[in-house]
């Protein structure tokens, strides 16, 4: 595994020490109108372990993807050993000896573990065939070294998330990279597994590998990294020596706020369940959510906060019958429910607005009227007549009420701007007046004015007795709108913020899992 270094190579290495091993300068990247990275810079030396930190949407994943060749930067330069390089694709990245373990995993479900790990760089044997024995031996040694509990011939579909993360790491390491990028790989790992991983990473670093480590567990960075680069809104705002910087300083650079410990860290079991519209007891979803309980009264607006991927989205979808849960009880107005699909939930008076318009809510080619009317369909029988005039007449009222700027009600929804499309989706659900409205990051990528209008809709809806549960990655939105905020961290409710505890400082520290 180690790179044996000759004297000459060492001298060469020392000479190159002057320039950083990898340097990224003034990197910018925009996805449409969204600026993911804006003039960000990053550097790392051989043998160094650097933590790359940032809140939601700060651009750290984009930076990793640029290095991995999954995304191309619009502007800026990348240099390795002082020589400028161009990373035109993921194969170019591998040739530069960069490898990545992705948070969303790059494993193939229909290939065995050893085939997955060695994919793209199988050890050849005689006649250009793959030397299966040599490959297996190589992978077996890595699996032992990283203590991954799986067999060489297992298929990923049969393995738990933590094992898959370990395999993803082993897959990246198997390339013997000079630069190893780890994107939130510890999210699903247990503490003992993390400890072993860290020992292995330290060994890799000692042999000269540069390791970039992205994590949301701030406690970890002090144990593994010597330096932390912090991104905020796509800009690199700080480069901190971790032997000097306190955790509060790190959080300050990530969020622009000094953290304050959440003074109330109670489980919501304390809240009165009497008169609750919705109460959830001990809900668990394998690999995502562990034993979450909460109860919500009529007309409340509840915020579910947290960093991305802490289980809040899965929790919301479990309430809506999309994601099956392994244990727990959901009670709505005193009646125990278990929806196996969203149609049941809608018939029972539950609505769902997703911020991911294109994938989860808009029927792009259908008219604005039909888009608004669609949620009603679940309530009718299959043979109910629905004429165009009836659709248009009833939906025009919604358009007027909510001041959605449209051309004609028969125009396709794709003729509208993103913000107006989202308003149509809001209208769709207000139209059916659900008892409980679930929202997943409803104002993602929406302009400020529209956002304010949407918040207004939600307040009006809540005042008229609708119960609103909203996942949001936007702290201002959570703080402005919610009566109470449940902060998720690693699949558990880490804090409940209410009343005077509902401050940005406390929210920030709870999101990062600080006590």
């Amino acid at each position: 595994m180690r790179h044996a270094m000759s004297v000459a190579a060492k001298r060469e290495w020392a000479r190159e020490m002057a320039a950083p091993f990898l340097e990224m300068k003034n990197i910018s990247k925009a996805f449409g109108a969204v600026r993911a990275l804006n003039d960000a810079s990053f550097r790392i030396d051989r043998g160094e372990i650097v933590a790359l930190l940032g809140a939601n949407g700060s651009g750290k994943s984009t930076l990793i993807k640029i290095l991995g060749g999954a995304v191309k930067n619009d502007a800026g330069t990348i240099a390795i050993d002082g020589k400028p390089v161009r990373i035109s694709g993921s194969d170019a990245s591998r040739k530069l000896k960069i490898s990545v373990a992705y948070q969303e995993l790059s494993l193939l479900p229909l290939m065995t573990v050893w085939e997955n790990v060695m994919l793209g760089h199988y050890i050849p044997g005689r006649f250009g065939r793959i030397d299966e024995e040599a490959n297996r031996e190589y992978v077996r040694a890595l699996l032992v070294q990283y203590d991954v509990p799986c067999g060489l011939d297992d298929y990923p579909s049969h393995l738990p998330p933590s094992t898959l993360s370990m395999i993803e790491i082993v897959k990246a390491v198997s390339w013997r990279p000079h630069i190893l990028l780890l994107d939130e790989v510890t999210a699903t790992l247990h503490h003992t597994e993390v400890e072993l991983l860290f020992n292995n990473l330290r060994e890799l670093a000692a042999s000269g590998t540069a390791i970039v480590f992205v994590t949301h567990r701030l406690g970890e960075i002090y144990r593994i990294a010597s330096r932390a680069v912090v991104l905020r809104n796509g800009e690199s705002v700080a480069d901190l020596d971790l032997s000097k910087a306190e955790i509060d300083t790190v959080v300050y650079h990530m969020t622009g706020k000094m953290p304050e410990p959440a003074s109330e860290c109670v489980s919501s079991g304390d809240h009165e369940t009497a008169g609750a519209v919705l109460s959830v007891e001990g809900l668990s979803i394998d690999g995502f959510v562990h034993n979450v309980s909460l109860s919500i009264r009529k007309g409340e607006i509840i915020g579910l906060g947290g960093l991305e991927g802490q289980g809040q989205s899965q929790f919301l979808r479990a309430l809506y019958g999309v994601v099956p849960y392994s244990s727990g009880k959901i009670t709505i107005e005193g009646k125990a429910v278990k929806y196996s699909n969203p149609a049941d939930a809608v018939r029972d008076g539950i609505g769902f607005i997703s911020g991911d318009r294109n994938r989860e809510s808009v029927f792009a080619q259908r008219s604005i009227g039909e888009n608004i009317y669609s949620a009603r369909l679940a309530k009718y029988s299959n043979l109910s007549p629905i004429s165009r005039s009836r659709v248009n007449k009833s939906t025009l009222r919604i358009v007027d009420d909510y001041q959605i700027r449209i051309g004609d009600i028969n125009d396709p929804i794709s003729s509208l701007s993103g913000g107006n499309q989202q308003k149509v989706v809001f209208g769709r659900w207000i139209f059916v007046t659900p008892r409980i409205l679930l929202l997943d990051d409803p104002t993602k990528g929406v302009d400020v004015t529209t956002r304010r209008e949407m918040h207004e809709f939600l307040r009006r809806a809540a005042d008229s007795g609708m119960t609103v549960i909203m996942v949001s990655s936007d702290n201002d939105e959570l703080l402005d709108l919610s009566d109470r905020i449940y902060v998720f961290f690693e699949g558990r409710i880490h804090a409940v913020l209410e009343g005077e505890n509902k401050t940005e400082e406390q929210l920030v520290s709870a999101m990062l899992g600080l006590k």
Binding site: G68, G69, A70, G89, S90, D91, S93, R94, S99, V100, Y102, E104, L105, S106, L107, L108, P109, L110, M111, E115, L119, G120, Y122, P124, F127, G128, R129, I130, E132, Y155, P156, S157, H158, P160, P161, L164, K171, D286, G287, F288, G309, S313, Q314, R317, V323
Partner: protein, 346 residues
């Protein structure tokens, strides 16, 4: 003793997880049905010879289809390209007397490879969905076929097709060709490029992120398919012993069905060429069995029995459909396990 039994049991369990499992079960069942009706006559050299010689074009065509299916694509132009090889090889020496016959066969084969390559470029480089690009390609080739030979005509030298349709020591010569192709598959199966084709069929994004060129892999899969279509076209020519411009087109969908029966997943990333071979032979043997059943077996029990041959097709298609349902049920089971993986959700 128990140890041996245990390892046998484990091997059986292992085989159940292999893609060839359902294909093997089905082929054994249909062979059994044939033996039950025909007895030892089924194994007569003439029967075997005819069986292999007529089955082989479809079998090779199915192997060609498997090559693209495992990479997550589909090719609707294979059948008509097979006919193109046939038409070109038979008619070109006739229309262009300066062209020696052997070179017409070689050029026909190379042109089939080129068609496969072009399909790969259309899908890989220009990102045209394979269903569309290869369907379009099939119409272009159909046009070329009809330009060269507007009706079935021509002939193949007797000494050539006699070799293909003959046997050596009671073993059909066409079987040797199949053995060579299967050995060829085992030769390329354990190679980097082949594994990358499987990876591409399994998940394009993950494959790209692993540092593999998805464009090159797509082109490779279609080119491999083109090579096999070329060989299928030559076998088809020797079987027909004449030029038939469009009769191969129906074989495209048959070969896709055969691949699916054999255990190849239409969504990609799963199955081997052996699956294709098993599936194609299953389809041929079903026809064989039903035709024997209606023309000889039932009349021998009920004297004077005689029905339209459409009933044969009817019975044959029902058996084929049952085969597809069985295999898909088994692979759906595998897919459900895949869906349990945590990759779903956000």
């Amino acid at each position: 003793m128990e140890g041996i039994k245990g390892s046998l049991g484990a091997q059986l369990e292992g085989f159940k997880r292999k893609p060839e499992f359902m294909g093997t079960v089905l082929i054994l069942a249909i062979i059994l049905l044939n033996i039950l009706m025909q007895g030892s006559a089924f194994f007569k050299p003439e029967t075997m010879q005819t069986l292999f010689a007529t089955a082989l074009p479809l079998v090779i065509l199915t192997m060609a289809q498997v090559a693209v299916l495992i990479s997550g694509n589909i090719d609707l132009s294979t059948g008509i390209t097979m006919s193109f090889v046939n038409v070109f090889a038979v008619m070109m020496p006739k229309n262009q007397p300066w062209l020696p016959m052997w070179s017409a066969y070689v050029i026909a084969f190379l042109l089939a490879v080129l068609v496969g390559y072009l399909n790969g470029v259309l899908v890989g480089v220009f990102r045209i969905p394979p269903m569309l690009s290869t369907y379009g390609m099939s119409f272009i080739i159909r046009g070329v076929n009809l330009l060269i030979s507007d009706r079935p005509q021509g002939n193949v030298p007797r000494e050539l097709w006699k070799v293909y349709q003959g046997d050596t020591f009671g073993i059909p010569n066409s079987l040797f060709l199949l053995v060579i192709l299967v050995l060829g598959w085992f030769y390329i199966k354990e190679r980097k490029a082949t594994k990358e084709m499987y990876a591409l069929g399994g998940d394009e994004k993950a494959t790209y992120l692993t540092g593999i060129s998805t464009v090159k892999t797509t082109i490779r899969a279609f080119t491999l398919s083109g090579v096999l279509v070329g060989i299928a076209g030559l076998a088809w020519t020797l079987m027909l012993a004449s030029s038939q411009p469009i009769s191969g087109d129906v074989k495209t969908l048959q070969s896709i069905a055969a691949a699916l029966i054999g255990g190849v997943l239409i969504t990609g990333g799963w199955g081997t060429m052996m699956c294709g071979v098993l599936g194609a032979f299953f389809m041929v043997l079903v026809n064989n069995a039903t035709s024997y059943m209606f023309t000889q077996f039932i009349p021998s029990i009920i004297p004077g029995f005689s029905v339209s041959t459409y009933y044969q097709d009817f019975a044959g298609q029902i058996i084929t459909m049952l085969g597809i349902v069985l295999t898909i049920a088994v692979s759906n089971n595998a897919k459900r396990m895949v869906n349990l993986s945590p990759a779903h959700g956000r």
